[in-house]
């Protein structure tokens, strides 16, 4: 039985199937697919938000979770057991494994070692596929469609993990991308080449003001100050009320959260703030994923 390790493991039809089912869960669908099932929720590094979202999804589907929130609190970190052995043992206790780990590739390794399906809840700087699915779902649910969306992506486009996975996935949906970033934090050449081969249109911009009026959605990333050369530049990549003066009525701001200065609280009371609903959407997307996994025996 296959779980989900990387967004690249899913094709367009599979993504659409997950998003459609997510919508049904959002509209109140109740299922007990995980009745009698035990799901291991193993967080080798702390990520309260993601963990609770997954565990809530399991509970909504009638399953129960075992696991840990931070491996430093368990004997796993101290007894010097190899990661492979630890994973092997964990997989004996559960019907599926949700794993978060600080090392890149840990989830892929887990999926090869464990006999049960593995869902990646973030492996280091590599992948966090349910984040990408909930980002796509949030665009779809806030706009009523994915095809043809004009999506602005602002901030650190070079190192941001969520941005890379999102960009990898939008290739299926013919969106138009507006990259808003300082020159040294622009998307890498390979990623751009892949967009070009997929026929995705994109353009570069130095500030939100240049393009705000054209956008359907703005995806903001966390602004890591140390990556910006100076204060003035980092100020340019923050959202403020003035920059939203001429946006379209359907315009929505998305952010993977937690936020920093790039998204001031004054934005929360505007009709454009979608990020809290976006976080909530994570619950529906994870329910949909688990439901498909246990109904079909495979995600991909």
């Amino acid at each position: 039985m296959q779980g989900l390790i990387s967004i690249a493991d899913l094709d367009k039809n599979k993504i659409i199937e997950i998003l459609k089912l997510s919508k049904l869960f959002k509209n109140g669908l109740r299922k007990k697919t995980l009745d009698g099932k035990v799901i291991a929720s193993c967080f080798f590094e702390n990520s309260t938000r993601t963990r609770l979202s997954f565990e809530s999804a399991v509970a909504h589907l009638g399953g129960s979770t075992i696991g840990f929130a931070d491996s430093s609190a368990t004997s796993l970190a101290t007894k010097g057991e190899s990661l492979a052995d630890t994973l092997k043992i964990l997989s004996c206790y559960a019907d599926a494994l949700i794993i978060r780990h600080p090392l890149d590739g840990a989830a892929r390794l887990a999926s090869e070692i464990c006999d049960i399906p593995v869902i990646n809840a973030g492996d280091g700087a590599n992948q966090h596929p349910t984040q990408t699915l909930l980002d796509l779902f949030s665009i779809m649910d806030s706009q009523g469609r994915l095809e043809g969306i004009k999506l602005g992506i602002m901030g650190d486009l070079k190192f941001g993990r969520t941005v890379h996975s999102l960009v990898e996935a939008v290739k299926w949906f013919g969106m138009q991308l507006y990259f808003i970033a300082p020159k040294h934090l622009r998307m890498g050449d390979e990623a751009l080449f892949n967009l070009k081969t997929s026929g995705i249109q994109y353009s570069f911009h130095n500030s939100l003001d240049e393009v705000a009026h054209e956008l359907d959605c703005l995806y903001l990333t966390r602004l890591q100050k140390e990556r910006f050369v100076d204060e003035v530049i980092s100020d340019t990549y923050k959202v403020n009320l003035a920059s939203l003066a001429n946006v379209k009525p359907n315009f929505k701001i998305l952010h993977p959260l937690p936020r920093q200065e790039e998204l001031p609280v004054e934005i929360d009371n505007t009709p454009y703030a979608y990020y809290f609903e976006q976080a909530q959407n994570g619950l529906y997307v994870r329910q949909a994923l688990l439901d498909i996994l246990f109904t079909n025996g495979s995600v991909d």
């Binding site: 492979a84 090392l103 890149d104 590739g105 080449f193």
Partner: protein
Amino acid sequence: MNDKNHIGYIENGINLDHIPHGNAWYVMKVLNLFNSHSQAGIGLNLPSKKLGTKDLIKIENRVLTQNEIDAISLFCTGSTLSIIKEFKVIDKFTLELAKVVNDIIVCPNKRCVSHQHVSRFNTFVNRKDITIVKCHYCEKEFNIEDISQYKF
């Protein structure tokens, strides 16, 4: 003039011929010839009808594992590998770029989980004709010339 005259006969071992000019050094690194006890002959900048200029490596008393052959194929696409026993060539084949290289390459990404397990790289040639290896675990891509460490 044939190669045997250049660097001597092999009694038991391997003869890797038609290495693209300049790549012998990488093969030596992959196979860790610098720290091995096997005698080796290295031919650089030899004339070749096929390649113009080629490199050549002969190693006495060395058997290559499939993983090692896959790893050197990154630098030796089109080279001929001869297995020699008692001065006779008992097997000979042309190397093709392996699709997967297991265990030999050390992932340059320090945060990669492969350091706690066994590495696995998928290979492909990119649009600029450069051989790229992509880590099966951390999904990062590297130009083969930037791989600095091999497992030995």
